[in-house]
Symmetry: C2
Subunit: 497 residues, 2 copies
């Protein structure tokens, strides 16, 4: 029999989950449909919903119920995992005083607003005082959470995005990558110099046709349009709920591959969301694992699957058909070569999969120092540029190309960056395991049969929800704890073979 | 100084209003964007939000605050009107037991579901037991609210849709109409027989072009697309909020005028919503008056303005240009004649403005009898058909053409129907007053200058919010209490002149 404390918690968290779904729908509308004049009103709606959720989660009764439910011995493994996930959410929510929550929220908005102009002007000094204020509140948050969670301060922030993620593990993985990537990058660039990619297909490419192609590829991958949509937004994202997955893209008339790869990336997120366990639909244990696991699903579809030769055997004919393309630039091999071009650049969001981890390592190292109080913000531009030189061999001409480029820190998100590269490593390790255990996965791809792949992902990742940690999920699916081997192996075979 | 009780109420009702805005956005998405699989989840979200609002409004503290604020003598007239509107909402919400609210909600869903099939099959017997259950709960609601509001039972239901509306007044107005309309209708039909309308333009009409035309007309009327959108839904409606007005239409490829007149109708609703007083944005007194006043704004734009010769002088050239139309069917005069064709029919939603009130009088009389317990539901089809014969001279071939046609009763909305015809009478009386006081309104229309009209509506209707009753608004704007004279005068001059 289920304890009544546990059952009450399930009801409470169900309400929270339903309200979060409503929030998701409002945010999607904000990004895709809302006329500009609706902004302030939508802000009110989101703040009010957030207040309602805060009230539900900070109800003093919850702490008692969590303790009572803990003593129950009748919980199933999923229920026990659910209880653990509830406690984690509750601890994060209640670790902070109401004043700190408000001050932080205000500082985020204030800093982000100034950053938008400062970035455009390349003027770090303009945002510095706001960033100082924000960082000091972030460190207060870190200290408060660290105490409640029994973690170091950086890990307390990381845990918001990556439950169970620990910087000690990341340090090891990132060291493996750092010892490999810079030299590897030089080799790849040498090879590319000798054998450069053929010219790309020339546009313009009608956005409506790009969209049609995107829909065809999504359908082939198993995206269910009875439970989702594809729309346009300034910044592509995957939102919505498991029953109603809303992914977005943006179209570049000169390069259809950027929108299409974006669609495939978001489709990976969307398939994960759709595949979460329906029996635990509104419970914490039914949610996706952290950002690393989520990114592993988008990168598995985009980087591992879609930027591969077998995928192009399926997709290149569709591309030619859609855009009426012919000539050497439209050869399957040319299209593939252009999807795997490596080009060191200052900007993370435009980076290829070889240089991307170096951008992340740079940010991870710097944000750890900042949280520890070991890097005064006034020194950030110089520290950034030094690392950029060391890791990527580049000298940013200004802070717009440097430490002002990403929104994350200026919007209060510290501890987020490493999840991108955890995702890349996880994607490689999972995909290697999938291909080894089910040869029909690779065999199906040139024919556009992705069912074996999706089945494997559902079974080994999606349907598990948060019933185990991201680390245990990877180990269970691949037989090994997460490490950089599969990712390094993947890079070697794609870029040097 | 504002009493602290009043101030606390403002805060509470502000939260309710913001949450209702969120609900509006979710409902709009449901009707326009949501994939079918999102239905159950969206239902959960709407139910949860409704529960949160119910909790806020049923908090016992509210009753005390209302009483305390009532004793304050420092309230401004708008604050006093706001307090009155708060009390009305609170009384409606708290008049019913939680059990009755749940039973009613369940009965609505149950009856509506069966009705969908019963209507398709013309099978009244199939829905009868569900309607019996629902009606008995509606009567319980009416009794509970009647006691709290000090009204008769029918008026207690009417008051939900038409605050301050009373059946004694409606009886008088509808009697005026009934003594005029049937004979008038015969005269109009005779006149049409002698001088029939010319042929209509022939389709198909590209929906995209219909949409373009709709957007042009909306813009001319003053609809602000920084604060609103036009989309497609199965049943056209006006939703959203004053800052973010979402209107919808549906396109008929064979008759562009149906979508365009629908767009103009919803634009009337939308302009009202947008014009509500911004200083009272999230307070009950800042909301629109009841359904009658709302319908008056849509019918004023659609029936009074848009189906008129001066409007066609402006719009007909746009219609010809949009659809590349030429020939006699596209003459301004032909287009106008086809917009004012009168044709008695069984179906209310397709009715012209001459026969529409007869459909409403029929429903109003029958629903009063049903609420009073004087018309057993088993006798409804016969009573319907008798009235239809008497009022419109028609014999429905089956109940699909008869008492099964409208969703309202089967979805629990009793006391709603008369607001349609209150709206038509109000529209005529307001428009006549506007034209008399500001000659530039009529003068502007052929040139597509609707600013004088919109200014008058803002000043006399929109910006007043609910600071006075619908009756007082009409009297203040037109110098007379609402009556059927202007409507009858309008019909005579449009259809017999």
């Amino acid at each position: 029999m289920i304890s009544s404390a546990y059952f009450k918690l399930e009801q409470r968290f169900r309400r929270l989950s339903v309200l979060r779904d409503a929030t998701e729908a409002l945010q999607w509308d904000y990004a895709t449909m809302m006329p500009s004049g609706g902004g302030p009103g939508r802000g009110e709606q989101l703040a009010e919903l957030s207040g309602v959720c805060h009230g539900l989660l900070n109800d003093p009764e919850i702490g008692d119920l969590l303790d009572k439910a803990q003593d129950e011995t009748t919980l199933s493994p999923w229920q026990a995992a659910n209880l653990k996930a509830m406690r984690r959410k509750w601890t994060h929510a209640t670790a902070l005083s109401k004043d700190l929550v408000l001050a932080y929220s205000k500082a985020c908005t204030g800093c982000e607003t100034v950053w938008r102009t400062a970035r455009a002007d390349g003027d770090f000094a303009a945002v510095l005082p706001h960033m100082e204020t924000l960082l000091s509140l972030v460190r207060e948050r870190a200290a408060a959470k660290a105490e409640k969670l029994g973690l170091c301060q950086y890990d307390a922030l990381l845990d918001e995005f990556e439950p169970g993620g620990r910087s000690a593990d990341i340090d090891v993985r990132f060291a493996e990558l750092e010892s490999f990537l810079p030299e590897f990058l030089n080799e790849v660039l040498e090879k590319q110099k000798i054998d450069p990619a053929p010219p790309m297909p020339e546009g313009p490419f009608d956005p409506e046709k790009q969209r049609e192609l995107g829909l065809k590829l999504m359908t082939a991958l198993g995206f269910d349009f009875n439970h989702g949509r594809l729309d346009v937004s300034l910044h592509p994202f995957c939102g919505g709920t498991p029953d109603d997955v809303r992914i977005t893209t943006r179209f570049n008339e000169n390069d259809f591959s950027s929108a299409i790869m974006g669609v495939l990336h978001e489709t990976g997120h969307g398939l994960y969301q759709r595949g979460l366990p329906p029996d635990w639909r509104y419970q914490p244990v039914g949610e996706a694992l952290g950002m690393g696991a989520h990114e592993s699903q988008s990168l598995l579809i985009e980087m591992q699957v879609s930027r591969s030769r077998p995928f192009l055997e399926f997709a290149a004919p569709l591309m030619r058909e859609t855009f009426d393309g012919s000539g050497p630039a439209w050869d399957t091999s040319s299209l593939y070569r252009n999807l795997i071009k490596v080009e060191p650049d200052f900007i993370r969001v435009d980076a290829d999969e070889v240089t991307y981890p170096l951008h992340i390592i740079l940010r991870y190292r710097l944000e750890k120092l900042m949280i520890a109080g070991d890097l005064p913000l006034v020194d950030l531009p110089e520290a950034w540029n030094d690392s950029m030189k060391k890791l990527l061999g580049l000298d940013p001409a200004n802070d717009r190309e440097g430490c002002l480029q990403d929104i994350h820190w200026y919007d209060g998100a510290w501890g987020y960056f490493p999840t991108y590269t955890l995702g890349a490593m996880t994607a490689a390790q999972l995909y290697a395991a999938a291909l080894t255990t089910r040869p029909e996965i690779l065999a199906g791809i040139p024919d556009g049969n992705f069912k074996p792949l999706l089945d494997w992902l559902k079974e080994n990742v999606h349907s598990l929800g948060s019933s185990l940690s991201a680390g245990d999920m990877v180990e269970q699916a691949s037989g090994k704890p997460l490490n950089a081997d599969a990712f390094i192996h993947h890079l070697k075979s794609r870029y040097l073979a």
